[in-house]
């Protein structure tokens, strides 16, 4: 689990280009301009490539994956 957590944090930092993403896992990534809609899609593609978990961009509303913790929860419930 910890491994999954750190891998997802790394993905978010890598895709956003913003180290701050790792600072607070409950921070709203969209409100803080760390992710935008293009980056969110990139993240879903990376999640599929890395964990084999397929989440369609149309399946989720923004408030269901707007923090690192929520993303971790989504992925771990499907892995």
């Amino acid at each position: 689990m910890n491994d999954l957590k750190s891998q997802i944090i790394d993905l978010v930092v890598d895709i956003s280009g913003d180290d701050d993403a790792a600072e607070d896992l409950d921070m709203d990534l969209f409100e803080e301009d760390i992710l935008d809609s293009m980056a969110a899609i990139e993240l879903l593609v990376a999640i599929k490539d890395n964990f084999g978990v397929s989440i369609a961009p149309t399946e989720l509303e923004r408030d269901q994956m707007n923090t690192v913790n929520k993303i971790i929860a989504r992925v771990s419930e499907r892995i």
């Binding site: 956003s16 280009g17 913003d18 180290d19 701050d20 600072e23 607070d24 803080e32 301009d33 760390i34 935008d36 809609s37 293009m38 980056a39 899609i41 879903l44 593609v45 369609a56 961009p57 149309t58 399946e59 989720l60 509303e61 923004r62």
Partner: protein, 524 residues
């Protein structure tokens, strides 16, 4: 009913021919027929000609997103002899106010019309609320009043589009009636196919030049324009729901927008069965994107186009056929538009480069605008620097884009010669963001760099030297600076990442050395 503009006449004639056909629909189910487009634009044009708050000839500001009323207002301005400046809701209030002030400084009191309901406050001019606009448009003007309208002249400004300016102030590109008429004439001819009425889906807001495509190419033909309302813009699921119900036949957007849709496996022919063509412009188009579009939509025709706001819209266009995709090489931006000269000059000597070699693109012809609103120096540099030997007394524009002609006559794009960039199709001057950052008392120096991945700009990084007033350098400072930027520039211009440095590396001219800085950032 005779207008000086051929384009305005054509739309009016179309409206009389097919009054019951839908001119505009959006994802909220709002609709406008050609009959309504005519009656609304006639009523508003008469009001603009008579109301005492509206000074004749002063550009009118149209604020809102892509909506039926925005289209009616644009046409009304042209019919009443006013230029219009369309401003999308992505612009924060301070940016809107700065644009209004620029217009008023040069031309006198203007009026802002809310083409969609809005809560915009603090704008220093008379405003027409959306409710009031609906009231005006519902009036039945007297026939002699409508007959008296003759609209903008051939050499009048038709519209002003405000883009990012390198000094932190938006700059307005003035496009003339003649430009729109000439562009319309070419595009209608170049984008002709053996088909019936079309439904255009164009993702670009009316404040960007690419949106002119469906106006001049679609509305003139009596086609329907389909647009996304705000909710559908921010949620992929509502966007997809709206798109599948749209019956769109023609798609116009940046490559980024299509790539976003392609990330969902349901985006295919079964999802949009009527889609026949895709016209992509505004940034580099990758072969992999076109291949995937063709795989998902068998039989679809894909076109690539290019053109700066300063020359109305597209000045190059070509179909991306299978032959071009064979070798995975860079795709051409197209053949030059007929009626314009697209010259490749050495940026230093301003002499023509040998055939096939790359240089700076200069555009000469009727689609080139008059210049930048109220900015004679900038206008001189960009619009008056092409040697007279090449212009034949026609207007010209120096693009700052590096291109070359391929052996087949198609043009290839190689990037910018200055600090302007395209991020997901949005045109951004890095200096604009830097000026906004440096205006904060927390920032001593700032340099904004694009970060490239897979051959495209992925995001922006701001390298900031804070002042002593900045207590800390981490996320708290980033939050403050991002909030400041969001209040002053559109969200797409806010850098995603912030790095704090003690100093910026300087080059021999004493300016920030962007190459060294980019290396430093990459190594961190």
């Amino acid at each position: 009913m005779t207008y000086h503009s051929a384009f305005v006449c054509a739309i009016d004639e179309q409206s009389c021919r097919t009054p019951d056909t839908l001119a505009f629909v959006n994802s909220d189910g709002e609709q406008m027929t050609y009959g309504e487009l005519k009656s609304r634009s006639d009523a508003l044009a008469c009001w603009l000609s008579k109301d005492k708050n509206v000074t004749p000839g002063v550009p009118v500001v149209l604020y809102g997103h892509k909506s039926p009323y925005m289209l009616a207002c644009m046409l009304a301005c042209a019919k009443s002899g006013h230029a219009y400046a369309p401003i999308d809701t992505v612009f924060p209030a301070t940016r809107v106010a700065a644009i209004v002030e620029q217009i008023q400084d040069k031309a006198g009191a203007t009026v802002l019309i809310n083409t969609t309901p809005s809560e915009l406050e603090g704008i220093p001019c008379a405003t027409v609320s959306h409710d009031a606009l609906q009231g005006i448009c519902a009036q039945k003007p007297a026939s002699p009043d409508v007959d008296a309208l003759c609209g903008v002249n051939k050499d009048d400004t038709f519209y002003i589009l405000f883009t990012s300016g390198s000094t932190g102030e938006p700059k307005g590109v003035e496009i003339l009636t003649e430009c729109v008429d000439e562009f319309s004439k070419w595009m209608l001819d170049a984008y002709t196919f053996d088909d019936g009425p079309r439904v255009w889906f164009n993702r670009t807001p009316y404040s960007f030049d690419v949106s002119i495509t469906d106006m001049v190419c679609g509305t003139v033909r009596g086609d329907t324009t389909f647009a996304l309302e705000k909710d559908a813009e921010t949620s992929m699921s509502s966007m997809f729901e709206a798109l599948s119900a749209s019956n769109a036949t023609d798609w116009v957007s940046t490559p980024s927008s299509v790539e976003q849709c392609l990330s969902d496996s349901t985006f295919d022919h079964a999802f949009m069965p009527h889609l026949k063509r895709m016209l992509l412009a505004g940034e580099t188009l990758r072969p992999s994107t076109v291949r995937e579009v063709k795989r998902r939509f068998p039989g679809i025709r894909v076109f690539n186009g290019y053109g700066p706001t300063e020359s109305t819209n597209l000045v190059t266009l070509c179909e991306i056929d299978d032959e071009l995709l064979e070798n995975d090489l860079a795709l051409p931006i197209g053949y030059p538009k007929t009626g314009s000269d697209l010259l490749v000059l050495d940026p230093n000597t301003l002499e023509k480069v040998p055939d096939g070699e790359s240089g700076e693109l200069f555009i000469v012809g009727e689609t080139v605008g008059r210049g930048y609103w109220g900015k004679p120096e900038l206008t001189d540099k960009a619009f008056h620097s092409c040697p007279a030997a090449y212009t034949n007394d026609r207007r010209s524009y120096r693009t700052g884009d590096e291109v070359n002609y391929g052996p087949d006559g198609r043009i290839y794009f190689h990037g910018r010669l200055d600090l302007q960039i395209k991020l997901h199709g949005f045109r951004i001057e890095l200096g604009d963001i830097e000026s906004q950052l440096c205006a904060s008392n927390l920032v001593q120096m700032a340099c904004v760099l694009p970060v490239w991945r897979n051959g495209a700009i992925h995001h922006l990084v701001a390298c900031v030297v804070p002042t002593d007033l900045a207590q800390e350098r981490g996320i708290a400072l980033t939050r403050k600076l991002k909030a400041r930027l969001r209040d002053n520039i559109p969200a797409y211009m806010v850098p995603r990442s912030f790095k704090y440095l003690d100093d910026l590396p300087l080059n021999t001219n004493g300016k920030a050395d962007r190459k060294v800085l980019a290396q430093q950032i990459a190594e961190k």
